[in-house]
């Protein structure tokens, strides 16, 4: 049984490892995307997304090695960054200054690949049903007592 100090210590060690993963991945992704959206072109943008994917894969490996899962803060930050990315893509396309012609395919492809990677992770980690339950908030809006019964699936 771990003491609260040991638990805090283990959480900190994991947090530092996650930072160690995302620091180079983030730096590389930022640099590659910056060059890609400038003189580099589509392939460098794709390389930037590969760096992000590599960071995600390393994060999953960290979770597997330490027997942990994504924390609520990590999930929240990931969703916010993804949403910001999507909004930025839509705005850039709407602005219509040739961005769509040059970068729509690599950026949209990268965003879709990231989404698929997350879905793939959830399916392999939790299974189809549990992965769906993660997002099944409608059922949680008005829970009935019967939904807690074992024969209803014991999801709660």
């Amino acid at each position: 049984m771990m003491s609260s100090e040991d638990e805090a210590s283990a959480r900190l060690d994991r947090h530092a490892l996650v930072l160690a993963v995302w620091l180079p991945a983030g730096f590389a992704a930022f640099g590659l995307l910056h060059y890609g959206f400038g003189p580099g072109g589509a392939w460098w943008v794709a390389a930037g997304f590969i760096a992000i994917l590599a960071g995600f894969a390393a994060h999953v490996i960290v979770n597997a090695a330490l027997g942990t899962n994504f924390t609520a803060r990590e999930t929240g930050l990931g969703l916010v960054l993804y949403a910001v990315g999507m909004i930025a893509l839509v705005l850039a396309v709407l602005r219509g200054d040739g961005f769509a012609a040059r970068f729509f395919l690599p950026v949209a492809g990268g965003m879709i690949t990231l989404l698929l990677a997350v879905v793939f992770y959830l399916l392999t980690r939790l299974g189809t049903r549990a992965a769906f339950d993660k997002f099944d908030i409608i059922r949680d809006n008005n829970p009935r007592r019967a939904s807690r019964l074992t024969q209803r699936g014991r999801h709660r």
Binding site: R11, L12, D13, A16, L19, A20, L23, H34, G40
Partner: protein, 624 residues
């Protein structure tokens, strides 16, 4: 570029302080400030160890030497495999000795095992050498690089003091654990930046680089060949070695010198404060031998080839194409220097505090006051390092050059502690005297002093193209063997036997049967002879002019480079075999039995120190 660079450095500094604050909140027990409760996570120890090795060898210096001497200098990176082998052989036994005999530092381990206060003092002197002049020399170079890269916008002195302050903050807030965690996080960044930058430079810059074009070395040096097995040169400053200084024995001795990094007090302390697990094997096998050596052998010449005008010129070239690439190059060089400064200064200050100040100067302090004392020691250490770097860069370089070759001289002592019980205290001490003298007289400090005071010596630095570490080790090992013959059952033999009996009973090293044992040692020696020894000379033409045919092979790359990569690829499984085959790479805290070693030194302040402290305390009390 300046703005991006300063922003990146500020971000990394903030990250360090953030992690240190988290450590301080998560582990508030003051007793764990200096040793992290001897429970550092394995991944952090592994990455920090690799970072210390690359930072200790000086990445900037390695690239500059490769540019100047070509592949012969780059060849010394293979010596990291020797360093990994040494770490592997010693770390587990030292870790075990720490756990079963309750020893908290390498100096204490040697002091108790050999019943020698002198060896403790030697280790502390080494900690001081690494922690002050060695670190100050790197900090001084860092300041110069930062000033050059920003075109003087950040003056050298400002860069030194600000960097020292921001390296001091994580150490003083979070102690040893924060220092190691920050180091580990930065090490991963360096591990990505080094190969990534070599690739980016090849892809972005217009003109072809190495291996497409040969290295533009200094006049008189061979770009892609080893200049002979040995050269009878008087040494640097007194004679010129034709073709370069990295001959076969030059490479072998420079490779031996790299062992000094893993024998530094800080590195050994890092291993002793690790949690039980697989980090003892993971760092030497995968991070140092596989990743670091490979990256230095492949990416090192590629980067060095483009640094003809210096690193800042290359950074400016890259920056003109993509600002982040230029910043990344400077960040790589600055980070490696920063890591060495942070690690050696923090570990040195902590060791001084734990081994001198707390037991002898201020004995009996409560954990809270002991932590405060360590923090004050850290503050003084960082202030001294910054002062040395800013005001005495030459002295720092001269004294700092002694740290690694002197650390190598501790090899017989640690081998004795780990395996060879017949090595006695007298043998170690006599060996050290010979080793230290030989190092001093083949390094600038001894030469300058002796020639200034007495007469000119006929040799210079590293005579016969042999590194001072190897000169010292030859004298050292010779004396150890000779003296050990007569003193193998010396007065402290019972003490030595107590530890080795426990090792043999509970923690035997599984080198396998007779055949396996012979294979392990003979293959290692054969590998060392051909990879970093005199046999490496064959690599000059082995792949370009094969012996089994009269024609030349058109490789498109230098034969020596292929030779280096070939022996790197053989070296990694060799280290892995020792780590996992002989169980040297794993530690466990199950079934540890306590062994009591006598304390050689009474833990009380010497009279004159006690009287001095009492007088000051009395005055302070009177003032209140």
């Amino acid at each position: 570029m300046t703005l991006f660079l300063v922003m990146a450095l500020a971000l990394l500094a903030s990250l360090g302080v953030y992690l240190a604050a988290l450590v301080a909140r998560a582990a508030p027990a003051p007793a764990t400030f200096g040793d992290a409760g001897a429970a550092l996570p394995g991944w952090a120890v592994s990455f920090a160890a690799a970072a210390v090795v690359v930072a200790g060898m000086g990445l900037g210096d390695h690239l500059a030497l490769t540019l100047r001497y070509g592949l012969q200098a780059s060849h010394t990176a293979l010596g990291l495999i020797l360093a990994a082998l040494t770490a592997l052989l010693l770390q587990k036994r030292l870790w075990l000795a720490a756990r079963i005999a309750g020893l908290s530092s390498p100096g204490e381990a040697l002091g108790h095992y050999y019943q020698s206060a002198t060896l403790r003092i030697v280790m502390l002197t080494l900690a001081l050498l690494f922690g002050l002049p060695f670190a100050a020399n790197l900090l001084s170079q860092l300041g110069g690089l930062l000033a050059a890269a920003t075109g003087g916008a950040v003056p050298r002195a400002t860069a030194i003091w600000v960097t020292a302050f921001f390296l001091f903050l994580p150490a003083v807030v979070g102690g040893w654990r924060a220092t190691v965690l920050v180091l580990a996080v930065q090490a991963v960044l360096v591990a990505v930046l080094l190969p990534g930058l070599a690739g980016i430079a090849q892809a972005m810059l217009p003109r072809p680089g190495f291996p497409g074009v040969p290295l533009q070395v200094a006049a008189g040096n061979l770009a892609d060949q080893i200049p002979g097995v040995i050269q009878f040169s008087a040494g640097i400053g007194k004679g010129i070695a034709q073709g370069g200084i990295f001959t076969g024995v030059g490479i072998a001795s420079a490779a031996l010198a790299l062992i000094g990094i893993v024998l530094s007090p800080g590195f050994l302390y890092l291993g002793m404060t690790a949690r039980a697990g697989r980090s003892t094997g993971f760092a030497p096998v995968w991070l140092i031998s596989a990743l670091l050596t490979g990256v230095l052998l492949i990416a090192g010449p590629m980067l060095a080839a483009r640094m003809g005008q210096g690193p800042t010129a290359l950074a400016a070239q890259l920056s003109a194409i993509e600002p982040f690439a230029g910043v990344a190059l400077l960040l790589l060089l600055i980070l490696t220097a920063q890591m060495a400064v942070a690690f050696f200064t923090t570990s040195g200050a902590i060791l001084i505090s734990r081994e001198i100040i707390l037991p002898f100067v201020l004995p009996g302090l409560s954990p809270v006051k002991a932590r405060l004392t360590t923090r004050i020691t850290l503050a003084i250490a960082f202030a001294l390092v910054a002062s040395l770097a800013a005001f005495a860069p030459l002295a720092s370089a001269v004294f700092g050059s002694l740290a690694i070759p002197l650390a190598v001289q501790m090899l017989p002592a640690f081998l004795g502690l780990a395996y060879l019980r017949w090595i006695s205290r007298s043998a170690v001490l006599v060996g050290l005297i010979f080793g230290v003298l030989m190092v001093l007289f083949t390094e600038p400090l001894g030469l300058i002093l002796f020639e200034g005071l007495f007469l000119d010596l006929p040799w210079g630095r590293w005579p016969l193209t042999v590194h001072s570490a190897a000169w010292g080790l030859v004298g050292n090992v010779g004396a150890v063997l000779l003296v050990a013959v007569f003193t193998r059952s010396g007065a402290e033999r019972a003490q030595r036997d107590r530890l080795h009996d426990e090792f043999a009973a509970s923690w035997p090293v599984d080198f396998g049967g007779k055949t396996a044992q012979s294979a392990k040692w003979s293959l290692t020696l054969i590998w060392a002879f051909f990879a970093v020894g005199p046999g490496a000379i064959l690599g000059n033409s082995f792949f370009s002019q094969p012996v089994f045919t009269t024609g030349d092979a058109a490789l498109g790359v230098p034969s020596l480079w292929v030779w280096q990569l070939f022996y790197w690829l053989i070296g990694v499984p060799l280290v892995s075999w020792l780590a996992y085959g002989a169980q040297l790479g794993t530690t466990s805290d199950q079934g540890l039995r306590r062994v009591v070693l006598d304390d050689p030194a009474r833990k009380a302040a010497p009279g004159w120190i006690a009287a001095g402290v009492a007088r000051i305390s009395a005055r302070q009390g009177g003032g209140r």
